[in-house]
């Protein structure tokens, strides 16, 4: 298999830039991250990209691969290659710092705006909360909690593309997991934060986020849940 070559187009530059083509030897069990690493180690050491764990845990290596946002460390070349070619660009909807590296500040700032931090209602002196794994709310939390913050959903979301202040799928998925956390006391503020024009009500339910989430989470469902709760809060005069 190593005698085969892969044609790889890689974005070089920042906002202004161009695609540069590389011929990379094809390997068995080769991931897109392996390809990028090969280019940087053996062909062009000035190529910038971001990665850490290489095993789908840290969420730092997401890029646009043949037009789709993917976690590159667990995207096998065999599954994404088209006619022997791969095009690798930085994630969409986030400012490009250099080459394949984007500035994730907007993305994570929106987690804060969506009140994505746990608000404790007990102290260390209180007994531990007893929450059964089979409780409905606990199961809703479980369904959304494994987000690795890679930004693939955010880069895919078309509402983010034309509404730059829109909170986006990941931030609202995080808010939804806290809304369903029986120990959390921040829901009035949180629902106020995710309602309104830049929040859950602007979601078009096109489910691009759900389609592209590498963890197979369903942010669209989380946002739909927030829609229901914000409407209830508005009717009760709590917004």
């Amino acid at each position: 298999m190593t005698d085969q070559m892969l044609t790889v187009s890689v974005w070089r530059g920042s906002v202004e830039g161009e695609f540069v083509e590389f011929q990379v030897p094809r390997q068995e069990n080769q991931t897109v991250l392996d390809v990028v690493t090969h280019i940087q180690r053996h062909m062009d050491p000035t190529l910038s990209y971001r990665f850490a764990c290489r095993v789908g845990v840290c969420g730092s290596c997401a890029m646009t691969v043949n037009g789709k946002a993917r976690w590159t460390c667990r995207s096998h070349v065999a599954n994404v290659v088209e006619n022997g070619r791969i095009e690798i660009r930085p994630l969409e909807s986030l400012p490009v710092v250099k080459d394949l590296v984007v500035d994730m500040a907007d993305f994570f700032d929106k987690w804060s705006k969506a009140k994505g931090s746990f608000v404790a209602t007990a102290t260390r002196d209180d007994a531990l909360a007893a929450i059964s794994p089979s409780e409905r709310m606990r199961r809703l939390v479980d369904a959304g909690i494994e987000c690795i913050g890679c930004g693939a959903c955010y880069a895919t979301c078309d509402v983010v593309k034309w509404k730059p202040d829109y909170l986006g799928p990941a931030a609202m998925n995080r808010a939804w997991t806290l809304v369903n956390d029986a120990r959390d006391g921040g829901n009035d503020d949180r629902l106020r934060a995710v309602a309104g024009d830049d929040g859950c009500l602007s979601c078009h339910s096109q489910q691009g986020c759900t389609l592209r989430c590498p963890q197979k989470l369903n942010p669209t469902m989380a946002i739909a849940g927030l829609k229901r709760l914000t409407v209830k809060a508005a009717l009760r005069g709590k917004l």
């Binding site: 034309w162 509404k163 309602a195 024009d197 602007s202 409407v231």
Partner: protein
């Protein structure tokens, strides 16, 4: 965004969803009736003969009109907010005027058809 604005946005969203449910029912009845009535071709006299002067149809199309008048301006407002750079206040005013236009036009049609009475 102020708390009041957040609340009113949420209630507008709810109004649009509820009016959509009403519309789904009304459009189904409207289309089904048309399909049944179309069997022998459709004429103004036939429509007026069936609908004109009938208080049940008047109420039905009154509800239909109310749902359209709520649903369309809110939807148009959202589309304009998302796709244009017009100031939100102006978009609110424009779509409210559009809503009034729909109400006036619809009431006029309803009144005209009811007045026409059953034609033989």
């Amino acid at each position: 965004m102020t708390d009041n604005a957040v609340r009113s946005e949420t209630l507008l969203w709810l109004a649009q969803r509820i009016s959509a449910m009403v519309l789904a029912f009304c459009i189904a009845v409207h289309l089904a009736t048309m399909v049944v009535a179309m069997q022998g071709g459709l004429s103004t006299a036939e429509i007026a003969g069936r609908v004109g002067g009938d208080p049940v149809w008047l109420v039905f199309y009154g509800v239909f009109l109310a749902a359209v008048s709520v649903h369309a301006p809110i939807g148009l407002r959202t589309v304009l907010l998302e796709t244009t750079s017009l100031p939100p206040n102006r978009i609110g005013l424009l779509t409210m005027l559009f809503g009034l236009f729909v109400v006036v036009l619809g009431l006029r049609t309803l009144y005209g058809l009811f007045q026409l009475g059953p034609m033989s």
